[in-house]
Every structure is written in structure tokens, then in C-alpha cells.
């Protein structure tokens, strides 16, 4: 927080005193703030820290896999590393990353509102996140959490009589609490979008980012409680012996998988839908062309959210579920490809004959389209029953979901961060290192995960500590890629932090965006808008004209 407090100067044409960063001073004015912008910034710092932590675990995993056998750690430590990598990345970074950090900051401003509907609940969500994260750190200190991020029974419910029990209980508590943080954020956004749109902003005049956040929020509110009850049952199972997931007591361990994936598959769309929303904004602005197929992109977000509830069984093709169920889940899974493809093709069509600016946000958006397409198409391999039996639990699966989670969610998080950074901080970041970071992330990512597709098809199982010598070159390419990816991500964060101290003051509208957040100053004043702004087409870029004096875009007279 201290670093952000340093930011002083306002944007061109605005005095220093009237923005949200200078509105009030002191640590408590941040910790107890009800301002969605400050809460968003706190989320941004917290989730970025979680990303770095999860990234550290990832590099530990990759380093260990440099050679067969032991490289730097024993197998127990390795098991804990991949568990913590998955759990921290999923629950602490990707799920809250875009909605809670960027969404919190941008959503009310895009709506022309002064704040979200329930500011106190918003702050409570943040502190729930902090509490959940604390439980995670406690699990770290107990050592021994090696269940994988999925906490599958019976492994997670077995009584080990060691510190591992405490670690599992602590981590499960942490996820339970993080779940409620996520539910309340989603609830807040749904209510805000429903009741606080300004006059004139009909549903189909909303920026697509809001459609994406809206669809995400539906999933957060409807799916997360199922995870909550599942984890609660896991806790009473482990501590009291409820027997719900224990076959010895008459329970069913596969039921846990059903419950878990009933949340966790929709949760995949909690991760990717906001990313798609970010991309819709980045593509439109940087192609200076009205977004193509607005309604289709909007509806496809909702379609993905709803279809996402009906496909959880594709994680369980080999769990012994009925063949009929597998066939149905497989068919519905294929159908998810349709709304996903609709988005990709509409973005491509937007680029066609556009006047494209290859700035860092756009490079990240391009990466997204490339990587997400690969991630999505390899998903079809896994949705195919006969193929999945062979690829199940191999590196092919690992590569597939990293192409979606990292190639999708992370690139758009960074792209969105650069895109809205002038608005958040009031500073322009340095374009060259930002572009280099996009390049490094793209190259490093592909170097990490393309070899894993090959390994997976050749039978390398996921999560293994040891492997056959023939896989060693692939693992080494992958490890090198992971370090390049890590360097890219670090460079991106360094660029952003550097701009706080050295960046030029940002104009109101540096990219020529036409949605409402670009009509208030950078950084925005405490109340966002003194009076409700007038709502026009948020993808009509012709009404804006470059102004050399302020270094940004202005409304055409």
C-alpha cells in the first residue's frame, strides 16, 4: 500500500487533490476504505503477491523436474510444491485476479456509478480473501499439504496422525473462506449491474467487459456454495468421521469428485470469462473499430456460464461413472466450443481492416487469442471419450489447462493491467519494456507447455516426481520456458511499478477508449462522476480524436 500512497500527481487538467489516491491519507484510510477503487487496488496488490508466490512454487516444480530422480528436493517436498502451486494460483490468484482486482476498479466506473451496490460487503470480501490466504499460509507452515489442489478423497480424509492433517484442515478452511469472498464479490457485481446502470445504459449498451463480469458473477453465486458445502463435509468427515465420502462408513468417495467438479468446472469459467471480457475491450480500442458481433459476444458469455454447469463429469470419464453419463457430458462439453469460437471469430473480424496499434495491451490480447485457441482446441481432444482415456492424467491435460488458465487468464490479466494502469495510477508505463514482457511471456509460455503436449501424448503422467530418461529433453525445454515466462511476468510487474515513480502523468484517455471509465480523470476522483454521465455507444471510436497537447484522445467537437 505504501507504494501506491506515493502516487501524487493528478492527470492533466486536474488538481492534485481531487483523485481517489489523495482523497484521504494514512494507512487506515486504505485498510478501512469503502471506495471500490481502493479496494480494487488492494486486491491488485494482494493477488499479484499471490501470483508471485504461486509462480515461485511453479519454478520449484520445474527446477526439480530438470533431471530424472532428485534434482533439488525430495519427493515429499515436490508433492507439496505442486499442490501449493495449484492451490495458490487457482484460489488466490486466477479466481479473484480479474473480477476482484480489475473488476472492482473498473466496473462501477464503466457503469457511471459512484460505487458498487454494497461497499461494506465489498470490503468484507477483501478481508475474507485475506483470512483465506492466512489459512493457506498456515497450511504452508504446518507443511505436508500434498493432496493436489483438488483435495480428492479418500486421500484428504485419511487420518495421518501427523502435521499433514492440520495442513489439510487449514487449507480446506482457507478455500471455504475464499469461496465466500468470491460469492460476495459476485453478488455485489450482479446487484450493481442490475440496479445501478445509469439512465440510457440498456443491457445491450453495456461494455462487453461488464457482460463477462456479469456472467462470471452468476457462476460465482451459483457454483461456489456447492464447493462450500463440499468442503464443510470434507472437514466434518476428517475431524468427526461423518462418513459421507468414506466407503468404510457407507459413504462414496466419487461423490466428492462430483461435488468438487460441480463447482470447479464452472470455476474454470470464473477464470476465463473475465479474461474474455478484458480481451473484448482491448481488441476494440486498439483496432479503433467498432467491436464486431456485439450481441453474439455478449450472449456467448452467458451461454458459456450456463453450459459450464453441465459439463463437470468430463473430469471423471475414468472414475467409473456410467457410460451414458460420460456420453452426455462429452456431448455437452463439445458444445462449449461454440460460444468460445464465436468470441474468437468476432474478435478476429473486429481486427479485419482495423487500424491496429501494437501496444503492450494489444500484444497480450493477441497472445490470448493464439494461446486460448490452442487451449480450447486441445480441450476437444480431452472431451472425446476414447482419446481421454489415454490422455487422462497426463501432461497433455496439464498443458491444455495451462493454455487456458495461463495463456488465457494470465495474459489478459497483464494486458488488462497495462490497459487500465494509466487510469488506476495516473501514470503512463514505459511501452518498450512492456512490449518485451509480452513477448517473453508469449515465448516462455509456449516453450514451457508445447513440449508438455508431446510428453503427454507419449504417456508422461502428471504430478510424477520421477520419469523415464526419454522425457528429459522435453522437461528441460519446459523448465527453460518456465524461467523465461517468469522473467516476462517479473518484467511486466517491474514496468508497472517503475511507472509509479518515473512514469509521465496519464491523460484522461490515452488509448481512445469510448467506454465511461475514459471520461473521468486519471486517476478518477473519489466519487468517479460528479453527475451521472451521458451514455453513448461504448464502441464508437470515431467520436474521439487524438490531441497532441494532452497526449490523449478527446471527444470530437
Amino acid at each position: 500500500m505504501a507504494t501506491v500512497d506515493v502516487v501524487r500527481s493528478g492527470s492533466a487538467g486536474h488538481t492534485e487533490t481531487d483523485n481517489y489516491l489523495t482523497h484521504s491519507k494514512g494507512l487506515l484510510s486504505w485498510l478501512l476504505t469503502l471506495d471500490h477503487k481502493r479496494i480494487g487496488v488492494m486486491y491488485l496488490i494482494a493477488t499479484s503477491a499471490a501470483f508471485l508466490l504461486g509462480g515461485f512454487f511453479a519454478l520449484m516444480v520445474r527446477t526439480e523436474l530438470w533431471t530424472t530422480g532428485r534434482t533439488i528436493m525430495n519427493h515429499d517436498t515436490y508433492n507439496q510444491m505442486f499442490t501449493l502451486h495449484g492451490a495458490v494460483m487457482v484460489f488466490l490468484f486466477i479466481i479473484p485476479g480479474i473480477p476482484a482486482a480489475l473488476g472492482n476498479f473498473i466496473l462501477p466506473i464503466m457503469l457511471g456509478a459512484k460505487d458498487v451496490a454494497f461497499p461494506r460487503l465489498n470490503l468484507a470480501s477483501f478481508y475474507l480473501w485475506m483470512m483465506g490466504a492466512t489459512f493457506f499460509l498456515a497450511a504452508l507452515s504446518f507443511t505436508g499439504l500434498d493432496t493436489g489442489w483438488t483435495f480428492y478423497t479418500p486421500y484428504s480424509t485419511t487420518d495421518f496422525g501427523t502435521g499433514k492433517d492440520n495442513a489439510i484442515i487449514s487449507a480446506v478452511m482457507g478455500v471455504f473462506i475464499l469461496g465466500f469472498s468470491s460469492i460476495f464479490t459476485g453478488l455485489n457485481f450482479l446487484v450493481t449491474i442490475h440496479t445501478m446502470r445509469p439512465p440510457g445504459m440498456t443491457w445491450f449498451r453495456m461494455p462487453l467487459f461488464l457482460w463477462a463480469i456479469y456472467s462470471t458473477a452468476i457462476i460465482q453465486v451459483l457454483a461456489t456454495p456447492v464447493l462450500a458445502i463440499t468442503l464443510l463435509l470434507l472437514l466434518v468427515e476428517k475431524t468427526l468421521g461423518f462418513g459421507i465420502f468414506d466407503p468404510q462408513l457407507g459413504g462414496d468417495p466419487v461423490l466428492f469428485q462430483h461435488f468438487f467438479w460441480f463447482y470447479s468446472h464452472p470455476a474454470v469459467y470464473i477464470m476465463i470469462l473475465p479474461a474474455m471480457g478484458v480481451i473484448s475491450e482491448l481488441i476494440g480500442v486498439n483496432c479503433r473499430r467498432h467491436i464486431f458481433g456485439y450481441r453474439f459476444i455478449a450472449y456467448s458469455s452467458v451461454a458459456i456460464a450456463l453450459l459450464g454447469f453441465l459439463v463437470w463429469g468430463h473430469h471423471m470419464f475414468t472414475s467409473g461413472q456410467s457410460k451414458l453419463a460420460s456420453v452426455v457430458f462429452s456431448a455437452i462439453t463439445f458444445s462449449v466450443a461454440i460460444p468460445s469460437a464465436i468470441k474468437i471469430f468476432n474478435w478476429l473480424s473486429t481486427m479485419y481492416k482495423g487500424s491496429i496499434t501494437f501496444n503492450a495491451p494489444f500484444l497480450y490480447a493477441l497472445s490470448f487469442m493464439f494461446l486460448f485457441t490452442i487451449g480450447g482446441l486441445t480441450g476437444l481432444f480431452l472431451a472425446t471419450l476414447s482419446v481421454d482415456v489415454h490422455l487422462h492424467d497426463t501432461y497433455f491435460v496439464v498443458a491444455h489447462f495451462h493454455y487456458v488458465m495461463v495463456g488465457g487468464a494470465l495474459t489478459s490479466f497483464l494486458g488488462g493491467l497495462f490497459h487500465w494502469w494509466p487510469k488506476i495510477s495516473g501514470k503512463m508505463y514505459s511501452e518498450t519494456p512492456a512490449r518485451i514482457s509480452a513477448l517473453l511471456v508469449f515465448l516462455g509460455f509456449n516453450l514451457t507447455f508445447l513440449p508438455q503436449f508431446v510428453m503427454g501424448t507419449r504417456g508422461m503422467p502428471r504430478r510424477y516426481y520421477n520419469y523415464l530418461p526419454e522425457f528429459e529433453p522435453f522437461h528441460q525445454w519446459s523448465t527453460i520456458g518456465a524461467y523465461v515466462l517468469g522473467a516476462g511476468a517479473l518484467l511486466a510487474f517491474a514496468t508497472v511499478i517503475h511507472s509509479i515513480f518515473r512514469g509521465k502523468p496519464a491523460p484522461m484517455n490515452p488509448w481512445g477508449g469510448a467506454s465511461l471509465e475514459w471520461t473521468c480523470s486519471s486517476p478518477p476522483p473519489h466519487n468517479n462522476f460528479d453527475k451521472a454521465p451521458s451514455v453513448e455507444d461504448c464502441y464508437d471510436y470515431d467520436k474521439l480524436v487524438w490531441d497532441e497537447k494532452t497526449g490523449g484522445y478527446l471527444m470530437r467537437k
Binding site: K114, M196, V221, V236, F259
Partner: protein
């Protein structure tokens, strides 16, 4: 709906802060604030339904696959207690709804009285639940991991158990055979040896009623908060949202119990 008529005077302009001290600055009108709160509460209730859903699904799976567990286990539950609690909760829903109406009409005394009655009902519900739970603990009718029943061995066990479980010793001498009928709500415990995994019934029983009881306790906290604000005189025709929202929550708690009662107590 009455709230529209009530909110109308405020749709004119901003600057009503002095008139309605609870109008948050980021809402344009009190009506917008009310609608947001109400929609938020409905979403929260949807979330609650899904929160309970895991246990309902588990119930359905076990019930279909192993009906004998339920046929045996439900006899340990006394429908009389369940019935009393059902009546108590339905009555408390009535007083809660009445409290909302009193708040809308600005009847402070009626609001306070109704909230107090609702709280008393919630307390009665928990007391009855306590009596039921302690009987289960005494007989070893616990969840699967601790399931250790010890009742129907000797007639002599009766006198030891009746003290806590039965409120009416006149029926205490009813024979074992009659007890299975549950006539008058006095089951003395299941008849016959427990089927395999019989403890799962009590996992479900404690899981569902326990989670529900936690929600009752949360409801008591929420209603107490509303009561304090009512005594302070916060609510009136211009501002009654929180009473309304807590009322909705309380009705859901009631509704869950209305499902739990037949599903657990009234089997066969």
C-alpha cells in the same frame, strides 16, 4: 406492492439526506437502495439453497440406494418433536412477516413485539433441538464414525433414557412393539438390528439439522440486530429494508425446515 407507494415521495431529487439518514450516498434514490438490497438478499438466498443442496443430493443418493437405512434410522426420531418445531417455525414466520408489515406502517410497538415473539420461537426451536440431540448422544445414535447404538437391548434402559427424551411419562410404558408405530410421537428407538452403515442416516440427520440450526442461530443474531434498531426507532415507512431482508432470510430458514421435517421424521 406497497413499497412502491412508500418510496415514491423520494424519487424526486437528491438532497434527501436530512430526511432519510439511512440513504447511502452512492444510490441515486432510496428506492434504488431498497431494490438493490432486496435483490442482493434474493441472490443470497439462492446461494443458501445451493449451499444446502449438497446435503440434499447426498440424502437422495443414499435414500435411493439404501432405503433400509432410512427405514431403520428414522425410528430413532420422534415426530412429535419435529412437529412441534415445525409449528413453532411456521408461527415465527408469521410474526416475522407481521413485523415487516409493522415496519412498513411505522408501528414501532407492533414491530418490536413481533420481533420478540420471533426470537422466542427461534429459542424454543433450539431448545427442542437440544433435547433431541442430547437423546441421540445418550443412545449413541451418532454419525457414521461414532455410531454406537445401545437402546433396545433391555427394557430397563427405558427408565434411564426417558428422563431426557420424553416429556410425557404417561406413554413411557408403551410396549416396544407399539413404539415403532410412533403413535403420539413416542418412538423409543429403532426396532431390529441396524442395517449395514445405519450410521449414515445420522450423518445425514446431524449434517442437515446441524447446518439448519447454524442458520437459525445466524437468524437470531440478525433479528436481534433488527430489534435493537427497531427500539432505536430506525424503521418507518421511508426505511424498512433491513427488516424486509432479514424477514426473507428467516422465511428461507423456515422453508428448509419444512423440507427437513418430512424427509427425516415422516418416512414411510
Amino acid at each position: 406492492m406497497s413499497e412502491h407507494a412508500v418510496a415514491d415521495p423520494h424519487t424526486g431529487h437528491d438532497g434527501h439526506q436530512g430526511h432519510n439518514p439511512f440513504h447511502a450516498h452512492h444510490f441515486d434514490t432510496p428506492k434504488q437502495q431498497f431494490d438493490a438490497g432486496k435483490f442482493g438478499m434474493w441472490l443470497f438466498l439462492v446461494q443458501e439453497v445451493l449451499f444446502f443442496s449438497g446435503l440434499f443430493v447426498f440424502y437422495a443418493i443414499v435414500r435411493v440406494n439404501h432405503p433400509e437405512i432410512f427405514r431403520w434410522g428414522h425410528q430413532a426420531l420422534d415426530p412429535f418433536y419435529g412437529f412441534v418445531n415445525t409449528i413453532v417455525l411456521i408461527f415465527s414466520s408469521l410474526t416475522m412477516a407481521w413485523a415487516v408489515r409493522c415496519a412498513q406502517k411505522g408501528q414501532r410497538t407492533g414491530l418490536i413485539v413481533n420481533l420478540v415473539i420471533t426470537l422466542v420461537c427461534a429459542g424454543v426451536f433450539l431448545c427442542v433441538k437440544y433435547v433431541e440431540y442430547s437423546a441421540k448422544f445418550e443412545h449413541g445414535f451418532l454419525w457414521a464414525g461414532r455410531f454406537n447404538p445401545h437402546t433396545e437391548d433391555h427394557a430397563g434402559d427405558h427408565s434411564a433414557t426417558e428422563g431426557t427424551t420424553s416429556h410425557d411419562s404417561g406413554h413411557a410404558d408403551a410396549s416396544h412393539a407399539a413404539s415403532a408405530e410412533g403413535h403420539g410421537g413416542h418412538a423409543h428407538g429403532p426396532v431390529g438390528p441396524p442395517p449395514k452403515n445405519a450410521g449414515v442416516f445420522f450423518s445425514i440427520y446431524f449434517g442437515m439439522t446441524g447446518l439448519h440450526a447454524i442458520h437459525v442461530i445466524a437468524g437470531i443474531a440478525a433479528i436481534t440486530w433488527i430489534l435493537v434498531r427497531s427500539v432505536r426507532g430506525d424503521f418507518g415507512p421511508d426505511y424498512f429494508g433491513p427488516v424486509d431482508y432479514v424477514g426473507l432470510y428467516w422465511h428461507l430458514v423456515d422453508l428448509v425446515w419444512i423440507y427437513l421435517f418430512p424427509m427425516l421424521y415422516l418416512i414411510e
